[in-house]
């Protein structure tokens, strides 16, 4: 499985890419394999207020529905409407075209609290 070094990660299996205050969020390679065929996503609305570690989107596989948690507190800046019409992108390209939303973080401390790829991989192996 692939966990790009430049990204940060959450215990709930989101990946986060930082560009200034803007955080792009998706689900990790581990998560997309775990839930398998993604068939439906529910995205947040533009300008919706997200809270760190609270659900902000939903992803549904054939089997079940899962919450996507916001990695930071802030406003939704952008959503990826392409995955609404083509949810399979989440499986095919989870770190690229399969992204979910961009949130504008209010405080840098939210970014600092996220896991590096190394810590995330360790978390997957040991569960801590």
């Amino acid at each position: 499985m692939n966990f790009p070094k430049e990204l940060r990660y959450t215990k709930t299996h989101e990946w986060v890419r930082r560009d200034g205050k803007q955080l792009t969020v998706g689900i990790t390679d581990y998560a997309q394999k775990e839930i398998s065929d993604v068939v439906f996503v529910e995205l947040p609305k533009m300008n919706q207020e997200g809270k760190a570690q609270k659900p902000l989107a939903v992803v549904e596989s054939v089997k079940a529905a899962f919450d996507i948690y916001s990695p930071a507190t802030g406003k939704v800046h952008k959503v990826n409407e392409r995955i609404e019409s083509d949810p399979g992108l989440v499986n095919q390209d989870c770190y690229g075209d399969g992204w979910f939303f961009v949130i504008e973080m209010a405080a840098d401390s939210d970014w600092d609290a996220l896991m590096t790829s190394e810590t995330y991989e360790k978390h997957l192996k040991t569960g801590v």
Partner: protein
Amino acid sequence: MPLHSEFLVLNAKMGAFGQWEVPLYFTSILDEHEAVRTRSGLFDISHMGEFKVRGRGALAFLQKLLPRDLSRMENGQALYMPMLDENGGVIDDVIVYRSGPQEYFLIVNAGNVDKDSAWVSSHVTEDVHFENLSEHYGLLAFQGPEAALIIERLFGSQYAALRYYRFAPFRDGFISRTGYTGEDGFEICVAKSDVPKLWQDIRAAGQTAPIGFGARDTLRLEAGMLLCGHDMNEDTTPLEAGISWALDLSKPDFIGLAALRKQQSEGVKRKMAGFILKERGIPREGYGIQKNGRIIGKVTSGAPSPTLKENIGLGYIEAAEAVLGSEIEIIIRGRSFKAIITTLPFYKRKKHSS
């Protein structure tokens, strides 16, 4: 489980199913689902339970234990039916196979083997011998439009010629024309030690995809087949579950008959219904069903249907509201989504004359 190491080699995504670790999918649930609908697929369902009932009193015993009339069964015939408690509640659903005038096999659900075994044993009479052979037997399901051709090539035309719900002896067990997918196909019961070789032989003979439990669930749901423990249990009767076709209420006696006759004369209060979502949302087990703001039922199974490209579900609905074509609402994450009650099955295969 006989094929566990094989699944790891195939890089299957494993998951828990009761006490067993089973493959959820090998490549993708959607691909595997399609393989069974259009070609063929192979399932390892060896964790299911096998019981043998034999002896002079076997028929009389089963006639009392089970709600369907077994007296007219022929050798080599199988029948699906629920196994009921005194209240008419569904303990399990089983397939009964008559292998001889005094010998029957039962195949029961994996998670219910201990419960069923205790229930059957507690009713056994002295002229009946009951054995739980679940440790000995394994079971493969080989399903899909190409399955019959491959069975014929591998094992002979006598198996490919079997009619629906008929079976013939095979090695230590049998091959039956049965399944849980809504597609043509077979179930093959052999000693667990024979399962790995049989799996390899069938896989090699056709371009047969291994199928996980994810697709097993979407296939059976499209076919309108109930999943015991989810779509029915001890708190539901077969009249409510819509499987009265698997009962013979004219039989003089069986466990649960009095309760069912009473319920039949009073009318059921709720009924199993199938529905299709008309708005974008996927129903899941446990979601509420409402109409005009009033809760009228609960979803017991739901998924996106890969074949129909619709979101489908099953659930119990107040009998007065369970009307074909009527509009209901499914509560998904606090919002209501329109759905239409529809006939079952959702999917019916086209029958080819052969």
